[in-house]
Symmetry: C2
């Protein structure tokens, strides 16, 4: 493994000069610089980032720990973060916790040990003690798609209660009185808040809580959505809900698919509303009504806050909240 020392010997200069070529090329005379650069090429020199980092104390990397790589919503957020990070000259490493708290924990430890400039995270468990400790020990953390406690982090979120409200209000407006909320596990804040929003829409409309039944899923995936679809299709017509509000689009798409396969008409037998408005929602068998979140803004703003916290000593934590928006499509259109 070739080091600066080898390059220095080959180029007939001191080790300090090689470092200067690397970091402050203007301070080195042109012929020397060329000689050193040639030596680097000849020897196949690769700077050792560990040693560099050890010396300067920080890396030029940020990380985004996301809940689920398979959810296009999060990858779109990641793409926006990537763009912002690149503009700031940083590399973005994406880690997927796959909704596992242990894996999330493991990644956070690794990232802290690596002294990354900062961590963006959509947490499995926002109350994790490690998450709260990180900033105190010098690693900025920004919570994405969840509202933090405000003590130790910035956060960028979308109002999930409002989203749930919008979705349910829409269903009530078009006449539904028996609505199923489909999503889980309960431990996810997204799930709790969206359901709470649904409840509030009911009470605002003067309807009782019993109008909303809940189908708990094990995860927010297409497969779990299909499962839920089978459960709904299996219900006797009288007690079956006439509309379903799903905690995200993956679940909604699975639900839609299962319902159609089992002979339920959408929206006539069952209206469906999803959440996130991922790209595939509009292209579904029955184009899906969904609650759109400004995902690029989310990623972009989160990256901005992180970079500010990492570089600005006067940084003050902020809780940014965007508003979601209902996009009505065929899956809730009567008589389509």
């Amino acid at each position: 493994m070739v080091s600066v020392k080898d390059v220095a010997v080959a180029a007939g200069v001191s080790l300090g000069t090689v470092s200067n070529v690397l970091n402050r090329p203007d301070r080195v005379s042109v012929p020397t610089r060329h000689r050193v650069q040639q030596a680097m090429r000849d020897l196949g020199f690769v700077r050792n980032e560990s040693a560099r980092q050890l010396r300067v104390g920080r890396s030029s990397t940020v990380a985004y720990v996301m809940l689920d790589v398979s959810n296009p919503f999060f990858t779109d957020v990641a793409a926006a973060v990537e763009t912002a990070a690149e503009a700031a000259g940083l590399s973005l490493f994406i880690c997927s916790s796959g909704q596992s708290a242990e894996r999330e924990q493991a990644y956070l430890s690794r990232l802290e040990e690596q002294r990354v400039q900062g961590i963006l995270i959509t947490p499995v468990d926002p109350a994790s003690p490690l998450l709260a400790d990180l900033p105190a020990r010098g690693t900025p953390v920004v919570i994405v798609d969840r509202t933090g406690d405000g003590e130790s982090h910035c956060s960028v979120a979308v109002d999930d209660k409002l989203g749930g409200h919008l979705a349910t209000e829409h269903l009530i407006e078009i006449g539904h009185r028996q609505i199923a909320f489909v999503g889980g596990p309960e431990r996810l804040g997204q799930v709790r808040d969206r359901r709470a929003g649904a409840m509030s829409a009911l009470s605002d409309a003067g309807l009782g809580e019993e109008r909303l039944s809940t189908l708990v899923t094990d995860a927010l995936t297409v497969a779990e959505g299909r499962n839920a679809g089978q459960r709904i299709a299996g219900m006797p017509r009288a007690s079956r809900p006439t509309a379903a509000f799903c905690a995200n689009d993956l679940v909604a798409l699975g639900l839609l698919q299962a319902c159609l396969a089992l002979g339920l008409r959408v929206p006539d037998d069952l209206a469906i509303v999803g959440y996130d408005d991922i790209e595939f929602a509009a292209a579904a068998a029955v184009p899906l009504t969904s609650v759109r979140q400004p995902r690029r803004d989310l990623g972009h703003r989160a990256a901005e806050l992180l970079l500010d916290e990492a570089s600005n000593p006067a940084h003050v934590h902020q809780q940014v909240q965007f508003n979601p928006e209902l996009v009505a499509r065929a899956s809730t259109r009567r008589g389509s």
Copy 2:
């Protein structure tokens, strides 16, 4: 920032003992161990991974540089890699080149400087010189979803020519004689090979090359698929192809969506075949016929090869190739 030295002082032991607690706890007597661990907790000690790596020479990280985070095909591959990496006690960092050769280059350099254990990559440009140099300088590289030159890398791929062949053969069998290939840019090997497979299916069926027209897209995205759909819908009926074979499912879904919106019936006016069989293909407005790739096998096998190369001195490069499989659905079913 607290270091082992601080911990040593606090616990009243030497620095070497602290290190032993960290790395070989069995060599330290129980009371000492507890004392040191308590000191670590009290002081909030976080091991400095840079220093560690500098000393031991290698990191415990692998990376997957993928073409496009927004394509569910790649994220499914990534999830499989993640699982394999975790089982081997390694962390996986995902990087997205976003189909940009410069960004890919930048990530590769960073990763090499970080001395990652190895790199999995679905390259924008498999002929990149950097890619060929990495293994010679000590960073194993496995090419995913592309066949490498065999000199310096392992590779795990799916036979794209066969895939293209299967798709087109299917279209020919059900009677299509004017077929459009939709995909691009040409520089992507996936696009070239799938198109070549389509060509070979034509000639095997005794049909001339002129039966396959090509609609070049700027990228393999839903938006580009929609674009292509508008172009096709705008053609006079006589010269319009009766079937489209798309280079991936994103393009196919966009194409499908645009066609339906513009009044073309699928499959009656236009049959569509996609590629990858992503989860959303089956849930589309017209369930999509697609060429399925064994994506979990792909990711899993790639990770295996990488780990072998990283740890086994007797490692010998392999080019693994899987076979794709046609999944016929409504988008090519006559008279559905």
